[in-house]
Assembly symmetry: C2
């Protein structure tokens, strides 16, 4: 059940006709990712993109569709790479509590990593957006992430790992607020150790024996 489009990597035998592309699509996409991550959707103009990606506007439109479609792809790539640590932590740790503790710890490191823009693309790249549906695109991802946290917590309550009276929704919202607040503070210049201290004390709201 593969999509069939398969990123048109040139791995698919010699299905090349016509003039070959003069740039590496994945590399250019990564450059666009960094630009959108740093400046957001609207503040990144197409001429910014073409300069950073090192290609002309017609090449960009031929390879990625329009600006909006490119952004969709960037968001998908981001969610699967730099933004995947949360989902991974939740899947790999044995309890919701340990998963969320690890997610917050990793967020502190990730959001302040000088190797790329600070903070989280999904939190910041489409605030104050003229296009309502671009804003909705990221909003839905944020709300879906909080919902995923909540259902993971509920699973632990059902399994007896967490006390029956635990407020799953509030705990999930708190973790979400921590992520969003840490992302904002990373953008505002907070250092990694500061966010790590924050992530650590934040776990004190969880029910303890």
């Amino acid at each position: 059940m593969v999509t069939g489009q398969e990123t048109q990597a040139q791995g698919g035998a010699g299905r090349t006709r016509g003039r070959p592309r003069s740039f590496d699509r994945a590399t250019a996409l990564e450059k666009a990712l960094m630009a959108f991550w740093e400046h957001g959707y609207e503040a990144t103009s197409v001429s910014d993109l073409t300069r950073i990606m090192g290609i002309g506007a017609p090449s960009l439109y031929a390879a990625f569709g329009d600006k909006r479609t490119l952004f969709d792809e960037v968001v998908r790539v981001y969610a699967g790479t730099h933004g995947a640590f949360g989902e991974r932590a939740l899947a790999e740790e044995p309890t919701a509590r340990e998963g969320i503790a690890r997610m917050l710890r990793e967020a502190a490191a990730e959001y302040t990593d000088p190797a790329h823009p600070y903070g989280c693309l999904i939190v910041h790249a489409a605030t104050n957006c003229t296009s309502a549906d671009v804003e909705a695109l990221l909003r839905e991802r944020r709300n879906a992430n909080i919902a995923a946290l909540e259902s993971r917590i509920r699973a632990d309550i059902a399994a007896g790992v967490l006390p029956a009276g635990t407020d799953a929704a509030a705990l999930a919202r708190h973790a979400g607020a921590m992520i969003q607040g840490m992302s904002q503070q990373a953008r505002d210049g907070a250092r990694r150790e500061e966010l790590e201290a924050l992530a650590e004390i934040a776990m004190a709201i969880w029910p303890h024996d």
Copy 2:
């Protein structure tokens, strides 16, 4: 040592010459505040402003300077009115803990109040901004707010109200992250009761006896 410009309110005796202004400056300013609050600095165009304020562009420029100067004034007004609940709570409550608890409770109500745009203008109105100094304007306010929280907490530690080992910086950052996260979630559609539950459990990280 008054500035001399004194907001040119017509209270200052009959110092009117020339044609009088055809609109109420404070009302127009409030309209601009709402527009910037809802859509942010860059996504609010001058033609948006003139339409909403009900005046022509030359009138806007004569009364408020340019778009940037108008935004500065809007931020100042916001900080003194809708955005003043935090400072007020901190000043009026006897302890840092009670002040911050009240601040978070009031934020839940304020950020979801349907009488005006959701969330906090200072958190959201200048993210992804082409103009670096507009972004810095609000960033400095956010960081100053966190610093104010921290020094209030330190005062309670010095006074023996809080235990000596208390991590003031982390507690302040946590409160700041809660404010920023609640603002984001209000914009993302969270209801008042949800944010109130969040504000309540968030106080559990404070040292307790």
